[in-house]
Subunit: 313 residues, 4 copies
């Protein structure tokens, strides 16, 4: 019977180096996100990958110490915070089903009367932000501090230039927020929610930071870096479930097919994946495929899952 392979830090390091070599021919086949002007300036040739394991080991390769814009990956931490703050209450306002449409589609939101399909479509993430705004004065700081706690300190921080660039061009999100407001699924002014959300998305971190920050999702919610349980075990399983069925935009099914791990991506080119009971993997490469996921990052995770047998399927 196929079993996950026992991987020492030393062998993982070799694997990451091999991966960095193997993905090289794929550069140039994707497209850096350009709808946020500031993101379009990123060097397309960047590649970093890091793995944090349950024994506290951490291996990394490439541009693993350079912060990049987390973007939609912050939705993952915002969801954890909403569950920490209010338990199942958030599910009265947001569903947990895949949307079956590209990540910013309005039709389904209108058809379902302002009830977002899940917390990882933009409509759902704006609702989560609105939910947190009722509890803290500054959502982006809350999310940043939570990432810092989970990871035991991070290199990155909030990138004000990216935040400003996003706010200036957030027409699609402003449309969504206004639809949510029409259906009374926002308690704050749409513009305020969009601004808070843009700031949250503008958090930057390295793949090392990200792998460490996500590690509790592979460990029943315990953070070895902060020495505390940051998320209840039942919520860990649920967050992983949402990632597994909704985490990769309209390529969630293909990603499960190729990689077989719960994961969340962002248009900054980052992906974080969870191998329950094994570890957390973060990868960064700015070029995106047509679904909006890191093209090289997905290939890297596919090779990683094949070699480690950490796939859960």
């Amino acid at each position: 019977m196929r079993e996950p392979r026992p991987f020492t830090a030393y062998r993982l390091k070799d694997l990451l180096s091999d991966i960095a070599e193997h993905v090289r021919p794929a550069f140039g086949k994707g497209k850096v996100a350009d709808y946020i002007p500031e993101l379009a300036k990123v060097d397309a040739s960047k590649f970093g990958m890091a793995v944090a394991t349950l024994d506290g080991a951490e291996v990394a390769v490439g541009d693993a110490d350079e912060p990049f814009s987390l973007q939609s990956i912050t939705k993952l931490f915002a969801l954890e915070l909403a569950l920490n703050r209010g338990g199942d209450e958030i599910w009265t306002r947001v569903g947990k089903e895949p949307s079956g449409t590209p990540f910013n589609h309005l039709a389904i939101l209108e058809a379902e009367r302002g009830a977002p399909r899940n917390p990882f479509v933009n409509a759902g993430a704006l609702t989560v932000t609105d939910y947190l705004m009722a509890r803290v004065p500054d959502v982006s700081t809350l999310v940043l501090e939570y990432i810092r706690t989970c990871a035991g300190g991070i290199t990155g921080g909030l990138d004000e230039t990216v935040a400003a660039s996003e706010m200036a061009t957030a027409y699609q999100n402003r449309a969504i927020a206004n639809i949510l407001r029409v259906h009374n699924n926002l308690t704050h002014a749409p513009d305020a929610v969009v601004d808070a959300y843009c700031r949250q998305c503008a958090i930057a971190a390295t793949v090392r930071d990200l792998a460490r920050a996500a590690l509790p999702l592979a460990m029943d919610g315990f953070s070895i870096h902060s020495g505390e349980t940051v998320l209840a075990q039942r919520n860990v399983r649920r967050v992983n479930a949402v990632m597994m069925t909704c985490g990769m935009y309209d390529s969630t099914g293909s990603f499960a097919y190729r990689v077989g791990l719960p994961a969340k991506s962002g248009v900054g080119g980052g992906i974080v994946a969870i191998a329950p009971g094994q570890g957390a993997i973060a990868v960064w490469s700015p070029e995106l495929d047509r679904a909006g996921n890191s093209l090289v990052g997905t290939i890297a995770l596919e090779i990683f899952a094949q070699n480690t047998r950490w796939s859960i399927l």
Copy 2:
């Protein structure tokens, strides 16, 4: 760290008995499928559950020896057969993404020009049937024999009365098949494909049969009952991925949240779930929830996953 619990057959049997007790209050809260007249006649109080494990053990409780109509669960075996026969070729005609809409929605099929989102929506299943029709004269016999092989013999068989009842009322499927034909995604006459599909859906089996037939999906494709590999390992992971992201109609996300196992359900009230490296679980209870999944069956699997820690998330 949370680990799957080692379960002897003896303790599993106790767990199934406990579950049969616990689900009792939920009877009467769902609704037996009535759009196929013959299915509406089923006794709503039926409940059977069976688990087949890697060591060949098998435990069962309740109406575990009574055949029921597999319906959409046959889509799982038809997909395995399509992969066995043609490898990745089927993916040129069917996607692998969740549909985000109820299981028989036409709009998305029209919008995506006859390309079904995945093999488990009816449009996709009809396409798989059409694909198999080009290879064998009788798809329902092929599927039935494959189930028999995987399970090492089954109690059930093709229920001609159910098949006739379905064919007589298959207006929705005939609409779908004609749309597929408009977009040249069927090679046979729409009516012939619908008839073949209705016969395939009318295969009946017990939960014992079903758990054994699905066990190879928990064992890298090896059937301990037939002594052979019935599905290549890479295809096992892929079938599990499609189940994980598309297997439970428009409750796939909720099911992952509550149970955390790849699974496929049918409107006959059956669900089969896979715990990779552990075993296969089949449950049958005819009352359905609003998404069309067995209401009591889902609760039973939720309790099962909590107690065994076989959830993969």
Copy 3:
């Protein structure tokens, strides 16, 4: 104040000749319908136009004595017959609003639970056919005889070759009919309704026949050719209203903008337009624009309306 110009038959004849000259450069810019194989064989260079006026005069130009396939234009006469037979009853099953989508769109039909938007989209026309099937054994004969009565005899008839060609390829209409049946908006078997509808569409007539057959719609329902009232005055206004708002597929607004007359087109390249209190105009030219209306026919009617000042807007 602009008034309709008094037109003698002599001057109308000159106008039609001028029009035939003016439209010449537009040939070759459209596309003959090819989804019905038999229709694709039509000579694209055909052009005929006829006007029937209240005083019984009739002028024509070009291929005015050659029958062509009326196709969707028969929906007009079928609607008249449904109103004649059951008054307002048909409106309990079909709406009277423009559909806002191409003429064979399924999504809106599904969203509105099998209630067709109007009698001129295919779903509505199939419902009208089904409605007439409950009253007569052979709908196509009924429609043909009604056209003959209104026109005082016609040159054309039912083209069995076209009918057979349509039935063989009517996948889209079979899809629609099955959706209607799912929502209990058909009382006959979907296939029988589609076959009856295909036969109805295969009626052929000349532009002379067509202008005469439609003349009662310009004369409060009186047919000068049969000497009887064929449609009650209130229904005349209502049929004209449906033509005005729904008669030209998804170019109904543009046609009102350019021509300003109630009209109905068919994919055979025919258009019939009504100038209440003045006359009826029929034109035929097989090449279609992107909306499925005769490209040259529309231009011809535009010139006609400008010169006669018969536009009602």
Copy 4:
């Protein structure tokens, strides 16, 4: 043959009085618009009707001297101004087809990539406002002055309280404006366009004002009140065409069926209808039917059209 009846002012006055009597039982069956708080305060029992004819006569009944909020009726005058200012240029940004969906539906706007179906859906009206903003500093003043010119002076004016109330609750329009901006179909900031549009909608006038202001649309564009041509004849026909096919939200077909005149309604309870070559009719009654049109106003126009035979169909 049915002909429009010659109506002296004296007989029209009697007809209006009869209508005011006849519509009485219909009060209480509709619902005053409540989505704009300030509009919800209107006295539901108000009823006024006025007719302006080509000879300069004007008759009125009921609350004909009380200004009411024109709302979407201003879209008519804004369209006239856009045509006056830029000719056909506006049609490169807005279509002329009926939308087939309720008046503020977003799905179709998204599906058609930010191209509004016509100038009378909110998306189209916002685009027209944006178009005028590029030409004048204050669109609402431009529209108000145009109405004043056409009518030869009006009683009403811009209601700042209503304008403020609309701006405060314009979430749906802000969503639409942001979608338009995403697709580069707005040249100004979405919020600025929405604010300008809300001010335009807040123009108030009496039914007398409104009938006079619309009279040029029945007279080839000539205003007898200002003594000048306010709209080119070809644009008159085109504006009437857009009213005929798109003027009454999702009841445009039913309205053509019942009344048979080009018309435009507003959620303030006003409707203005054009009888080309005869006159203009304005009616006001705040209770709306389910499509958002004045319920009593529609009945009044139906009786009016039947008695005058001014219907154009």
